[in-house]
Amino acid sequence: MARLNVNIGALKLKNPVLTASGTFGYGEEFADFIDLSRLGGFIIKGTTLNHREGNPYPRMVETPSGMLNAVGLQNKGVDYMIEHIYPRIKDAGSEVIVNVSGATVDDYVAVCEKLAPLDAINAIEVNISCPNVKQGGMAFGTSCSGAAEVTRAVRRTYPKTVIVKLSPNVTSIAEIAKAVEAEGADSVSLINTLLGMSIDVERQRPHLSTITGGLSGAAVRPVAVRMVWQVAHAVKIPVVGLGGIMNGRDAIEFMLAGARAIEVGTANFIDPAVTIKIIDYMNDYCERHGVDDINDIVGMI
């Protein structure tokens, strides 16, 4: 399957299929269903400097062809992750990428400093786009200056591959991507969730404890494909595409739009083995269309 190899900066992936942070736990949760070593890589839960309890329940509600979540970056903090989780997953046989979040620039830097020495981690995804936390998160991702500031600081600290994850809740995602590229990011990934809301009309109250939450799933795919296409035309660094990828067809759609790799999120909840099916579909697709190297279809549109 060499024809599925792709590179994101210095990061070499055996295929373009990654999993989206917050939707695949630490990979282990899916080990009964798939062979983790077949993935291009998996991006683990949003990791912060300190332990976070996340938001109160209820945290999710289904919406048409999608869902809203308001998890709020619940995690045990980077030290716990390094001590207890990293040893268990570092030999999974595919790239492990840590998704990094923070409320301040210093938070991001502190987490990156701790991650840099880990041999088995060759890349981080910097989340400047989480809509479910009060401070930081999306605030950084919705202005060029905020996005640039975090990227600059992380770039100085972290020597390996830096992927910056962009928010779709902006007027021009291409502008943000350019700002991030200018600060030395190796790649951008998009999209994080769209800010949404849902109300229980009988009880006359919001479905989520935080009122608003992040929309993901098939519903957002047309927006995500459009943004990937816009960003791929605006920057030279590789783009990682995600948002509503449910199957192999959808994954190829993102690659045609300009994504070098893709992430599978909400679809893991519906079919825990979907990632492997996507890899197999990619192979078939290449076969069917006479493609020797999947890089050849990236950005055809």
């Binding site: 917050g22 939707t23 695949f24 736990g25 949760e29 899916f30 009964d32 269903f33 839960k45 309890e53 996340g54 109160p56 329940y57 209820p58 945290r59 999710m60 509600v61 289904e62 919406t63 048409p64 062809s65 999608g66 869902m67 979540n69 998890v71 619940q74 799933g217 098939a218 909400t266 893991n268 909840f269 519906i270 079919d271 825990p272 083995a273």
Partner: protein, 257 residues
């Protein structure tokens, strides 16, 4: 415990009532995996346009001899409405088994299994397992009306059944918490039902010094511990109901009202 994604065939859809169906399923291939009482499955609902995610449903009963898995389903919204329309021969895809299970009581303990409405679901398999382990369970089933008391014959085949209905059409009139069965001595009470019922039962359990385990039904996306959507605030902080539950000892919950 190893989890699987498996297709099942509907062997029978027993319409118990307008709102309820008992789906009897058989794996399309091979035999049922090991499952514990209290665990649940995540059902893909392929026949509802408006249902996107899987739906969590308790394991109601497992008949390893016949290779049958029972799911007891109450129509709550579009997803469950579609499930109770399934006909024999239809295919249903499940992820299973998920979650923890009930704590096995020490031999000789007096145990009460109580369920409200469709919350009786996990108690049938649990009652059967207890009986096989040599503990004679007693049941306390509650519902609004006689028609909502489900699987009565099946429960009776396992142990003594006490009943409360709000309208008094079957058993004692009132809520399970006022049923005379609760005035006896119990070492352990297992409970599944609407949150207010479980909280009320928990209170009674405390007052009579019984241990108490409840089965929570938080909203779930993955059912696998991956999304962190289903959390319950416990004495240990937020934990996932789908992996550390759905069964919780009431002492670990923050229900101290």
């Amino acid at each position: 415990m190893k989890k699987f994604i498996l297709d099942f065939t509907v062997v029978e859809n027993r319409r118990l009532h307008d709102l309820y169906s008992l789906l009897i399923l058989r794996p399309c291939q091979g035999t049922l995996p090991d499952m514990l009482p209290g665990q649940f499955v995540q059902v893909a609902v392929d026949n509802s346009k408006t249902t996107y995610l899987r739906r969590p449903i308790s394991i109601n009963y497992v008949d390893y001899e016949q290779n049958h898995l029972w799911l007891l389903i109450r129509k709550a919204g579009d997803g469950t409405a579609a499930l109770i329309e399934k006909e024999s021969g239809d295919i249903v895809n499940l992820v299973l088994p998920l979650g923890n299970s009930f704590t096995v009581p020490a031999p000789g303990k007096k145990v009460l299994l109580t369920g409200g409405g469709v919350g009786v679901a996990p108690m049938l398999y649990w009652g059967k397992c207890l009986k096989e382990h040599g503990t004679m369970p007693e049941f306390l089933l509650g519902a609004r009306s006689a028609g909502d008391i489900l699987e009565l014959e099946e429960f009776k085949a396992i142990g003594k059944v006490n009943i409360s209905t709000e309208d008094g059409t079957l058993g004692e009139k009132g809520l399970v918490t006022t049923n005379s069965a609760l005035s006896q001595h119990w070492d352990m009470i297992y409970c599944c039902g609407p949150a207010p019922m479980m909280k009320a039962v928990a209170k009674v359990a405390r007052s009579i010094n019984a241990e108490c385990e409840v089965s929570l039904e938080n909203m779930m996306a993955c059912g696998l511990g991956a999304c962190l959507c289903c959390v319950e605030n416990t004495v240990k902080g937020n934990v996932c109901v789908c992996t550390e539950g759905p069964i919780f000892n009431i002492n670990s919950l923050t229900w101290q009202d």
